[in-house]
Structures are given as C-alpha cells and as structure tokens.
Homo-oligomer: 392 residues x 2
Amino acid sequence: MNSSDAPIAQQPGAHQLRRSNSRKILHAAWDQGPVTASELIEATGLTRATVLNQAKELVAAGWLREAADTRSAGEYSKGRPALRYELDDSSGLIAGLDAGQHRITLALADLTGAELLREEVRTDPEAGAEQRITAVIGLLQRTLGSLGVQRFAALVIAVPAPVDSAGRSPEHPEGFWQRMNPNWITALEPYAQLLAVDNDANLAAVAEMRAGASGSFAALMVGERLGAGIVVDGALLRGGQGFAGEMRALSYVSGVGNALGLGYLARKEAREALENGRVSTLRREGLDARQVFRVAAAGDLLAGEILESLGERLARIAAVTAGFLGLERIVLCGAMAEYLDPVLCIAHRELAKDPELAAVQLAASSLGADVALKGALANALDLVRRAAPFAK
Amino acid sequence: MNSSDAPIAQQPGAHQLRRSNSRKILHAAWDQGPVTASELIEATGLTRATVLNQAKELVAAGWLREAADTRSAGEYSKGRPALRYELDDSSGLIAGLDAGQHRITLALADLTGAELLREEVRTDPEAGAEQRITAVIGLLQRTLGSLGVQRFAALVIAVPAPVDSAGRSPEHPEGFWQRMNPNWITALEPYAQLLAVDNDANLAAVAEMRAGASGSFAALMVGERLGAGIVVDGALLRGGQGFAGEMRALSYVSGVGNALGLGYLARKEAREALENGRVSTLRREGLDARQVFRVAAAGDLLAGEILESLGERLARIAAVTAGFLGLERIVLCGAMAEYLDPVLCIAHRELAKDPELAAVQLAASSLGADVALKGALANALDLVRRAAPFAK
DNA sequence: TCGACTTTATTTAGATGCTAAATTTATATC
DNA sequence: GATATAAATTTAGCATCTAAATAAAGTCGA
C-alpha cells in the first residue's frame, strides 16, 4: 500500500560476461590468415548471424578488418563470395624489453607476433636505478616517436631478478635486484596499455612454451648464474616473492654446491688450472667458455676435463630439479646453448646411470641467445590476446 | 531468388554458459547459514528479481530449501519478512576415502562439509589389487546401503602413490603403486557422481589450504617415507606422471641421502645404536618413534642425539624444497606431527644459521593424523561446489 | 482495531544477445 | 538470361537478465 513515489533502487552494473562471443571470434581469427565467416562458424560453433554481427563490431572497433573476398583469394567457389576477415595488425604494437645487466634490448612486433624491429643500448652494469630508468624511457620514447605511435598495446620486461606476481622484486643484500627491477611497472606505465615484468628465465620458459613445450619442464639459464623458469602442468611457477626457480638451494646438493653458471665455471676452472701450471692449448687472453669448448673439441685434455666436470654437474642439477617437481624435460637456455652439445652428452651419460632419472629429457634450446626477449614478446602478445577485445 | 524451401541448417547447441548466475547464488548461500534474498543481492550484485527467480529454481532442483523467515529467526525487522534460503544439505553426501597400505578409512560428510560418520577396515599390506578393490567396494556398498543412499555426490580417494591428472599412477618396479591405485576411477565409478584420486600428501596440502594455508607451501608427510604435496601460488602441483612432491631426489642432497621418513629413521637409528651396545633407557620391545621422543624428553642422551640428527636433516630437507620453489612454509603432516616439536626446534635453530633461508616457516600441522582423509573430504566438497548446480 | 510505515515479494515492461528459419544477394555456369 | 550455389541479410522468437511499478506482509502507535 506504499503509494509514495521513491522507486526502489536495484543494482545496476551487470552486463558481466556477455559479449564473450566476440572474444571467441577474435581469437579464432587471430592466428590464421584471412578467414571467412563460414570458417569462423565452424571454429566457434556460433551461428552465422552471430558471427557476422560480431565480426562487424570487431571491424568497427579496429580489431578486425575485411580482407579480399574468397574468390579473389584464389580458392574457386560457386555461390555468393564469402566475406573474409583478418586481424587488423596495424591496430597495435607489442614490445618486449630485455633489461639485462650490461645491455638493454627492445623488440617490437605486430599483433600477429611478427617481429618488426629491434633496438639495443648498452648500460653500465653498476648504474643505479635512476640511470637505468632514464635509459629505458629514452629508448621507448625514441622508438615510439620514430614510429609515430602513442603507446604500445603491451610491454613485457625481462629482468635478471626474482619477480613476484605484482611485478616487484624482493630485497637483495647488495641491492642488485632492486637495481635490475626498479619498479618498472610504475615507471613505464605511460608507455603501454598492458604491462608486465618477469624474471628472464621465466620468460625463457614462456618462449619455450610458445615454441611447443608443454607439460612440466624447466628453462634453465646456464651462462653466468643458474636460474630456471619452471613450468609445472603447463603453468609457470612464481612462488613466494618470485623465488621459484632460484637455484640458491644447489648449495645443499652434493657435487654441485653453488648456483654458478656453466659459462662462469668453464672460465674459472680453466683460469685456475692454467695458474697452477697445467699444460693446455688454452690461452689466457680472451679466455671464455666458447674457447674452452673449441679447444676441447680439438682434443685438449684440460678442456676435456672441464667439460666432463660441467657435464656431471649438469646431470646432478637436472636430476634434483626434475626430481622434486616431476619435470619431464629441462631445456638449457642462453647464449651457450648453441655449442653446449658435448656437455649434454656427458650429462646424458651420467643420467643414464640411474634409470629412475632417465625419464628427464635434457636438451639445449633452439631459440638462441635472446630467448628471454622472445619470451617477453610472446608474453606481451599473450597479454593482448587475453585482454582483447578492449577499447583502444 | 532461391525460392526453394531447404532451410539452411545453422548450428544448434548453444545455451553454453548461461545460467551462470544460479551458480553464483548457490555459492553465496553455501557456507553461510540461512540467507535472505537481500543478502544474496548484496553478495552477488544481481537484481532482486533475478535472485528470487533463481533461488526458486534452485529450491525446485533440490539445492536450496526455504528456511524460517527472518523475523522468526530473531533479528527484529520491520516490513515484510524476508524469505530465507539455505543449502539443502540433505540432498547429497560426499565421501573421502583414505586407501592406505594397512588401513582403509571412509569418511562421510554432508554438503556443508560436516562430518557424519567414519568407517574403517584393515587390509593386508601385501594384498593384491583385486582384494583391495573388493574390500573398498564392500565398504562403500555397506555404507550406502545402511544409509539408503544410491550413490555419493562426490568421492575422493587418497592413495600412497603418485597420481597423474587422469587419476593414474605410474608403474613402479615392485608394482606397489599399481597395488595402491588399481585404477580406482573406473572401479568406483558407479558409486559417485564425481570421482577423483590423488596422492595422500597432495590431499594433505588440500586440507591445509582449507584450514587457511595459502600462497606457496608444502605439506610434508614425515612418517615412514617422505612425500610432499606442493602448492605454489595457490595451485597444487602434479607434475609429469604425478611425480611432483616425490622425494627421491633427496638422494642427491648432502646430509640427507634418502627419502626415509622421520618415524622410520627414529626407529632405525635407535635399534642400530642399541645393537651396537649404546646405553639408553630405550627398550627394544615396542620400539617406535613415539618412545624415542618420550625418552628424549626425559633426558635420554641417545634419544636426544637421534632427535638432533632428525632436526638437522629436516632443516636441510626444508631448505632444499623451499629453495627451488620459493615456498614460504612447510607444514609437517602425519601422525607424528603431534609430538614433533622438539625436532622442529632443532630444525629452526639450524635454519636460522643461514639467514637467507630463515624465510621458510617450518611448522607442524594441527590437523591430526588423518590429514589426508580430511583433504579428501575437502576435495570432494570442492568438486561438488565447482560442479553445482548439476542434475541429481 | 485501524491505518501509517517499512521492508519485502511479485509483476510487468523493456533490453540484450543469441538461435532458427526464411529471404535476398552475388556470383559462376550453361 | 535462366539456373544453381553459397553466401549475407532479415525477421521472429527465446532466454535471461535489468528497471520500475505494484502488491503483500508484517510492526507500531494511536
């Protein structure tokens, strides 16, 4: 009997998860070339009416564009020619940034993931956070400016430090992690719609996933210091404060004892042996891992011994990491991956001694020295795909 | 100009994810007592019309029931009394089964998770798969029969073996894992609508999560053999063939060397010391871990040494597992957890020596000897909640 | 006991985003 | 130009929501 006016306010908001089909359609169109509506119907299980409707909206929103029709594309067909849509790759740029200790590399790609250009600047490894930030912002502004683009659709930054889910790195006694990750997220916020920071090994793992790895595996960076990106059941692990994949615990593993990288150890062992007067074809000038491998291949005894010790070490590291987590595969990443084969052979031999562990596959990555950067790009692309279609 | 009839068949199906709001409402009503529609509006953000509509349907479907109205429940209020709904807990039973080596325990609970009854049968640890299956089926049939229930809404089985995502266990040289998990999923399919098998340590981890644990931690079973349920970033790890949390790799950890449990080692070390003629108040008859702890508390030197060695061992195990994964916490589970304190103290002392590792919290579970069973129940409840509302 | 008041349920009228089916359009072939 | 084909477009209808108005069920004070 309430005859007063006052309408009862009911919750507004809503509209929640509607429009989920436009995402379906966009995703189905993403990685193929031009697609006809019929193919989209097939792929999404939606009705023709829906597909055409949504496709029209996606074109209006700048996510898709109409391509030449089926007939002109070659496939002969009777009947009315089908409309064809393709991803409007000009509608956004994605970026990956490898902010390493000595070098900062920026890679750009379009929305299909095709790389467009790459820029690189060197930095003083001792440089403070401020300097690094201005160097990166300069690089970004220059690149954006020269392309006449406001900002990137997504930017992912690879850093040599643990990174938690919020993009922060824990404190390090010497402040190294803070220097490597001076809160990039807030610093670079103006330059990308979607932004993420991650550990370089984690991004290497992402790159490996994109290249086909699946299930449970680790991407192990083997150069200067060991660090792993760990994927279990298809999901990248992060852990408290981003510590998953940190290799400090190797100090408890017998026959390993530290988390030093294979490259570092190759140099160190060679240098020490030479200082102790060992005979070898190794030269002290320009002594690096590559030289050790080369000389070993030519039959040098000392270098051979070094590789032997590295191989045994690697086998133990693989056995332990894989053992606790049920990893099926360990992929060795970094610049050394290209010439790591001899060490891999030794490690395989060692692993085969314990049949229970033979299940772990150990292999070198085929993605080259810039895996982390590739992973950053892959991750950036993924961010866009997951968020799309969003307003631009 | 095609005036023929032939209607173009367009995709049927559809209806996909609609009705998602009924799930929202059911979930909001699940763990509270009786709830008014207004409270559901608040909790779900939906309109009154929607909430009442869906609630009505959920009542019809047997998931909710109407409870006494607000007024009669005590809270005074003016105006028209609100309808109140509550979970119809009589509408389904969930079950957890701990299918251990020596003992099989069945626990039943209603849909709120309140435990109703527990049954236990002993089994010959050497019994074959067939025998174990018939024992379990007998137990289930008896229980279902006595309650006059067709089948459980969900049943989760805990087994002492690795279990992959399909519920299978890998082959074990002695066939142990197959005996413990003789493909329970297919064997027990008639007895529950939702069915899952998992490793007991994994389910212990689930129980800990239900009890409030979050982030990254491990539930470590410490009795006869070590085994862990590992949770990273809130997700339970499984790994290839379910091997995540297997502790075989401890054979590579210096000062540990094997995956034997603390209880087993306490007995073994005590027995060996006595055989070597060590003086102690320990008695050889009925020698078990508990006795070692008791005697140590009374000042026995030998027992004290044993606890000391267990503590140091535990510290290393914790450091290694936590180190690789960034675990924030390790919870010790199993029957021993209740009296494990002295060993924990020693382990804490050891961990504190390395400040980098002091971040790992080490604690005994407060969930008692039947953690795995509790986890199985929790998991079963979760299965139902995730699947609900489904046809019954 | 009656009515004012409060808080809720119920009803009614759109809006949205889809399906299903009929209809129209664009092209190739004969 | 008629015919066939395969597509786009239109139209109707349905399910599930929101928004707003209306009815109901109780309390409270006079």
